[in-house]
Symmetry: C2
């Protein structure tokens, strides 16, 4: 993986203005066993180690009802990733591929998404399996997995009930 001052052969960065189109609010932190980027698995596994998703107290009440779901989607901010690479060389062999054809943390908006298994909820903390991010990663969002979720609101005209 490339760092701010290190481009691999063939990789291409672009000059951009500082980002400022919208602002995020971190809503908690994720605790994982991995303190260094080189220790993180490349992709999380649902039989991986337990990790803890610690919500800020203001948002604890927003977890009400989440216990009904086995699988949930987490969004988090990959805060140590550069954001200016258009082409990357995952194998560092001179061959490159476009940033959007990779799930690398290096991307214009370094947001990680994972589907994880929700083991249990302990107050304002979710205990999950399936993550691959660094210890201390800022949390952005928690949602039911789209496959398990059926909208609670009434259907709209033209929608059938089994999408």
């Amino acid at each position: 993986m490339s760092t701010a001052d290190d481009l691999r052969p063939g990789e291409r960065a672009i000059d951009t203005d500082p980002p400022g189109d919208a602002a995020l609010r971190f809503i908690g932190r994720i605790e994982t066993p991995w303190a260094r980027r080189e220790d993180c698995p490349r992709q999380g596994r649902l039989d991986g180690p337990e990790c803890r998703v610690v919500l800020d107290p203001a948002w604890h009440d927003a977890l009400e009802g989440l216990e009904a779901y086995d699988r949930i989607e987490l969004l988090y901010w990959l805060d140590r990733s550069r954001r200016d690479l258009v082409r990357q060389s995952p194998k560092n062999d001179g061959r490159t591929v476009g940033t959007f054809a990779l799930r690398s943390p290096v991307r214009p908006n370094p947001i990680g998404t994972s589907i994880v298994h929700l083991e249990r909820i302990e107050g304002g903390t979710l205990v999950v399996r399936g993550l691959d991010c660094l210890d201390g990663t800022p949390l952005i969002d928690v949602k039911p997995d789209r496959c398990a979720f059926t909208p609670l609101a009434p259907a709209k005209p033209g929608e059938d009930t089994a999408p």
Copy 2:
């Protein structure tokens, strides 16, 4: 769905500081058939209408290699959603559920995620099916679907090759 000046019975909003923990850069716009929120389907369907994901020119080269994937993940910014609701009442019947137990656009960081079918790529535009967002929605990210993607980088110690 609640708007900025309209709380349904039982819903709860919180006071928060303006968000400022991280900044997003929009990388394009999404063109859909839906101009009003009440026209959007509640969840996208892979057999839904074609939509166009128009990348800014600076990022066109970052699409290289994406054509290998049938299913891709899109992240986008739900720019007309309030961000302060902890509990919501989807049916407007006095019963509420926590924001994180819903896939409502109303959430502290209103980021939508969809898995869509990639029909074709036309220059810097992706033609896809499966979206449910408003016409003009700002694009944040494009990734291969995690289920279809195998990391290109070499495995790390302890990882087997078929995660």
